[in-house]
Symmetry: C2
Subunit: 378 residues, 2 copies
């Protein structure tokens, strides 16, 4: 038996801080865009065979400990919903990401979303699974749906109303594109779990943000998405990214996810928008230095042209290595007049072009990552 | 006739935001340490001769416009207090800084403090001059006194109670030292005047900081200084520096004063304190990338040794160019085992060693910067 799921998301109203660490309940609601699984995704296969011993997990080709609290949370909840008596035996999970793990591109979110989708498929669990994914990794619950998804913080102590809700499907805003600027794929130094715990404990600004700033932003962001109002969507996205990083800086000891390259990207986007006379591009940064830029189709080639000149490949590399999308790169090269800022050479490692994507989707057994006879990764 | 003043200060509870732009009234109280004028100071001479035409001003050897609103504010207030009928004629002002102008080391604060002290001396104005200095540059009012000085935000609409008050004199805590790490002397891109205006207008966190965070910090900081409790003083200083920069990041568009070197310094200080088992060093950053580190005498040589190894001179320079204080440098060299982090070579341009200093002080006519016969700089 085997099933697969895919997903990945980037928050435009950020989740930072838990009110209940064990149940993973947040101090504020958040909202994200699910990115196309074909560019920024996770593939997970789960298989079950009672003759296999224990639960085993391989992540990106390396065996990892499956006895973590988070994975056990997911297994326990799936078990409770499926009616299976004992899920401590016979389970094999194989997962691969097509983007840098722990570089701040929410791989744990898509990872747990896929895991829960795959386990849910494997054990035929019906209904909303976001409440289970949340217990693996908070933001994973948003990756259980495609398009634009909010995670309602909820009020109940048991977390039963802290679930993901789709605000609009992936087909709602087809002209919305994303460019992901991978600044560094070094492992981040402060994990988001540890970081947000410190922020809740020490930042004097975070509670104010959660209580007094985010509720209004959630309402306005939902409206901007419904209206496909890019200027409003973009401004809120940038303001919220900046405020999230501001609360990190207000944490003791301070947490830094942005570096000088991230800052140069922020200033580049503001300069681009100033030149355009309105907000045509928007940045957002998660718990790492990489940028996700949103842009509408009408301005995509112009932005990609500018970005790849302002943040060009290092001297030993070409634009072919740098901007992976052939079609977009050809259009950028057609524009011409490409003059690289040599000082910034190599500061952005590569640029991924993607769009709004669907949530986890079941794949065929042929695509399984598990060899069903041995229970090992293929 | 000629008089001189000197002064410079670094805030440990930051001033950021005006409730009245014209009168320069702040949204919160602030507190600073006046630094020794011999290391980090401004020298200003003011002379008056009714036969000279107009008001002229030279700053660091270059003639500048004396008809700015801020200088006119100071002249007008001095005039009102002195009873002089017309101060639009016959005044010559010459001012020099011994540190980089506009690099975030509060040169405008010491500049206006000196200007007001010199004019006050010239026209024999008695009593508190901080209320006048405030109208030149807000934080200048704190440089009117030595030692530890608070600027009380005040309640009155006319600003008459928005004045500087000495919390403790320069003799109170003689073991307190400061190392100034000059990261860059490029002109800063966002002036503090413009920056704080944008922050007041756009940051959702700044008003909360001013109303709900700073009042308690002011009380605790004053107590820490009175108790000479370095751990409490240092933690508050660092937390407040971080929160000030957090509100800059929460501004639209975001303001960045810290760069990757500033961040490396912050992380260095946290690592140093962790190793020491308590807070023995504290950083603070104004509107620029330069750091001011506070340390008590017992840990000065150890900190200076570590700092000059972690942030060494560039390859073409020696420690003699880098750490200007001969006595301290000799002690650092005696410690030995000095292994420079080559990756960081030149990221800190030079290190200034200084102490808590006195406020503006009158000097002799011999020391005047003005040639009294011509009214021109000497």
């Amino acid at each position: 038996m085997a099933r697969e799921g895919r997903g990945s998301n980037i928050a435009v109203i950020k989740y930072w801080g838990k009110r209940d660490k064990k149940k993973i309940l947040p101090i504020n609601s958040s909202l994200s865009v699910t990115l196309s699984p074909f560019d920024m995704g996770t593939c997970t296969s789960a298989a079950y065979n009672p003759s296999w011993k224990g639960v085993k997990l391989w992540l990106n080709g390396k065996e990892e400990d499956a006895n973590t609290e988070r994975i056990q949370n997911c297994l326990r909840e799936i078990q409770a919903r499926s009616g299976e008596s004992d899920m401590k035996e016979g389970i094999r999970i194989v997962s691969t990401n097509n983007f840098p793990t722990a570089a701040g591109l929410a791989s744990s979110a898509s990872g747990y979303a896929c895991l829960v989708a795959a386990l849910g498929g494997l054990f035929k669990v019906e209904g909303d699974l976001s409440v289970i994914a949340r217990q693996g990794s908070g933001s994973a619950c948003r990756s259980m749906y495609g398009g634009f998804v909010k995670w309602e913080m909820g009020k109940e102590e048991d977390g039963s109303d802290s679930i993901a809700v789709q605000v609009a499907p992936e087909t709602h805003w087809p002209s919305l594109h994303a460019l992901i600027l991978v600044v560094s794929d070094e492992k981040k130094k402060v994990s988001s779990t540890g970081g947000m715990e410190e922020s809740v404990r020490t930042s004097k600004l975070l509670a104010h943000r959660a209580q007094a700033v985010v509720p209004d932003r959630m309402v306005r962001m939902e409206q901007a998405i419904k209206d496909k109002d890019f200027a409003a969507f973009g401004k809120l996205t940038m303001e919220d990214s900046n405020q999230f990083h501001a609360t990190c800086l207000d944490t003791w000891p301070p947490i830094f996810y942005l570096n000088d390259t991230s800052r140069a990207i922020i200033q580049f986007v503001h300069a681009f928008n100033e030149e355009m006379g309105q907000i045509c591009a928007a940045y957002t940064f998660d718990a790492g230095p990489n940028a996700v830029l949103f842009v509408e189709e009408a301005n995509l080639v112009k932005l990609a042209h500018r970005v790849s000149a302002a943040f060009p490949p290092s001297k030993d590399k070409t634009l072919e290595d740098h901007l992976a999308d052939d079609e977009l790169r050809n259009k950028v090269q057609e524009v011409g007049g490409w003059e690289a800022d040599q000082d910034m050479g190599g500061r952005v490692k590569y640029i991924i072009h993607t769009k709004v994507g669907c949530g986890p989707s079941a794949l065929t057994e042929d695509e399984s990552l598990i060899d069903l006879s041995s229970g090992l990764p293929k």
